[in-house]
């Protein structure tokens, strides 16, 4: 079943077309990767999918419902969670509290009930705390529960951010370069986590530079170059695709120059 339909999405910044008429589908229960040289428009596309940026053209259907024009908060509530290329943890809060914030989207108790410590507010609090503990266990980092986020190693920060995104109970989890800044051991742990997440029935979309990781985890890959989709298919096909090879070789040649 198609969970996400991206249709003719275009985003311009001034004279630059960052994403140019891109369309693809994401099937439920799969891991789909979005790759491409620097500046290909991957993060811009991610922002357009999650309400952080509004595309100039096109449509994003999530389970049949239009996402374009929704605020990030409503996108989260619809079931699309995301992480960031530069982890956006709350440094003064513990890992556990960070994950608890992920429950906010589906909780409703505000100032008045909290001030009076009403049972409904306490119940929501307990639910969030239990969920945070469960998710950190699922990802295998429960020993960091009470550590302030500022004191966490880079690899753990990535995983806490994933746990926090999972706390929003997403059907689609979008990860923006989750392996950036990780060593090989941490990357291997991340791969295990991604499989574990997919096995719970959550569809995963991933923007990543680490080709090894992308080839290992993804069922399908979309390749962007200068805003345009130049290839789409399973990893083996993408590895042999002449347009993809040219795009990446071109980038390397540019870097050498």
């Amino acid at each position: 079943m198609t969970l996400l339909q991206v249709r003719n999405v275009t985003k311009r910044f001034g004279g630059l077309t960052a994403v140019d008429d891109v369309s693809f589908d994401v099937f439920e229960g799969t891991i789909k990767a979005l790759i491409g040289p620097n500046g290909a428009g991957k993060s811009t596309l991610f922002n357009a999918l999650t309400g952080f940026d509004r595309p100039d053209h096109g449509s994003v259907l999530f389970d049949g419902a239009e996402l374009v024009g929704r605020r990030p908060r409503d996108t989260v509530r619809a079931g699309v969670a995301r992480t960031f290329q530069n982890t956006q943890l709350f440094d003064e809060m513990t890992a556990g509290e960070n994950v608890m914030v992920g429950r906010q989207a589906h909780q409703s108790r505000g100032f008045a009930t909290a001030m009076l410590r009403l049972p409904v507010a306490i119940a929501e609090d307990r639910e969030a705390r239990d969920e945070a503990g469960r998710l950190l266990r699922l990802i295998g980092i429960e020993e960091w529960l009470d550590t302030p986020a500022a004191d966490l190693p880079a690899g753990i920060r990535r995983l806490v951010e994933i746990a926090r995104a999972l706390a929003t109970k997403p059907r689609l989890l979008l990860l923006d370069e989750p392996a950036a800044g990780l060593n090989t051991t941490e990357t291997r742990e991340l791969v295990q986590t991604l499989f574990r997440v997919r096995d719970t029935g959550i569809t995963v979309g991933i923007v990543e530079h680490d080709m090894g990781l992308v080839m290992d985890v993804s069922d399908e890959i979309v390749v962007l170059d200068r805003g345009r989709k130049i290839a789409e298919g399973p990893p083996r096909m993408i590895q042999k695709d002449p347009a993809v090879i040219a795009a990446y070789l071109g980038e390397e040649a540019d870097e050498d120059a």
Partner: protein, 327 residues
């Protein structure tokens, strides 16, 4: 770990006992009045602790909300002859509405528009307090405000006023503690930590900021009503930019992510103004010098904290607590 938890229960209890017995020990009415003022300032600063220390928003105009509360209470009790409790509640409510009207448009915009808006609002209100003479009494002020009364019981003794004010501070602190330790508090700390991250978690960032601002304006309005009733007289010279900056200095010195720190800072910076009364032996000249440099002390406090201890008093003792656990 155990020691930290015991301390967390014992420290507020000890503070409660100390605050409660002050009028039994201190009989001097002027001194009691100073401690009462400390409580009124603590009420304002508790609201600012939520706004600045938890939600990370700056207000440069909170004295205007205090003034709004004070004049509302004066007008309602004297001109309208309302019962005090009703006037007190209406004073807080009106300040809260003022906060809402100010925060809603300025918080929808990104950046420091709230700080700018509060600065402008503060200056405007100072002018309004002077110019709206039929209501406020203009530069001459507004006198003859009755003491607080709970039903038929009038509260006029210095010790009773002290207890009334600090009881309200206590209630506000408990409510604020509940807010900070539950869902809204996590939302506030989250948007302080990373707005992008908070949005990705589904936090309604504008909504949380606006609500926090309204609560802080409400507390400032209630503090203003208490001030008017305790002093019996209000004049526009009290609710100025200088006062707003003093409140902000207390919140900044007190530190982020804490209620105890700003409380301590509010009491401390209030008492500094009355050093000559607190320490009888102090030479008059020294006290006067200190008083004339009061605004500079506030400014200096902000600068020193921002440069050397960005987390304020609260983070200094948090760091000590963490260090103690490690050793």
């Amino acid at each position: 770990m155990m020691r930290g938890r015991t301390l967390r229960v014992l420290a507020p209890l000890a503070a409660l006992v100390i605050v409660a017995v002050v009028p039994l020990v201190v009989t001097d009415r002027f001194l009691l009045k100073i401690f009462t003022f400390a409580g009124i300032n603590a009420l304002v600063v508790t609201g600012l602790a939520l706004l600045f220390g938890y939600a990370g928003q700056v207000s440069l105009g909170h004295a205007a909300f205090v003034g709004l509360g004070a004049y509302t209470c004066a007008f309602c009790t004297v001109r309208l002859e309302w019962p005090w409790l009703l006037a007190f509640v209406v004073s807080g409510a009106l300040a809260a509405v003022g906060g809402l009207v100010l925060a809603l448009p300025s918080l929808r915009l990104k950046g420091h528009y709230l700080a700018m808006a509060t600065l402008g609002f503060g200056l405007l209100m100072t002018l309004a307090f002077v110019e709206a003479e039929p209501i406020t009494g203009g530069v001459d002020g507004f006198g003859g405000i009755p003491f607080p009364a709970l039903g038929p019981i009038e509260i006029r003794e210095a010790s009773s006023l002290y207890w009334l004010v600090w009881a309200i501070v206590g209630i506000a602190l408990v409510a604020a503690f509940n807010v900070t330790s539950m869902r809204p508090g996590r939302a506030m700390r989250a948007l302080h930590g990373s707005e992008l991250g908070a949005q990705a978690c589904g936090v309604d960032i504008v909504g949380v900021k606006v609500r926090t601002f309204v609560v802080s304006a409400l507390l400032a309005g209630l503090a203003g009503a208490l001030y008017a009733s305790v002093v019996g007289f209000v004049s526009p010279s009290v609710f100025t930019l200088t006062a707003s900056i003093a409140f902000l200095a207390m919140a900044v010195l007190g530190g982020t992510g804490s209620l105890a720190g700003p409380l301590a800072a509010a009491v401390l910076l209030t008492l500094i103004q009355y050093l000559d009364a607190l320490i009888p032996g102090i030479p008059r000249a020294t006290a006067q010098t200190l008083q004339s440099y009061q605004e500079d002390i506030y400014g200096l406090a902000i600068v020193l904290v921002v440069v050397f201890a960005p987390g304020g008093l609260a983070s200094m003792w948090r760091r000590r607590a963490r260090g103690g656990q490690a050793s």
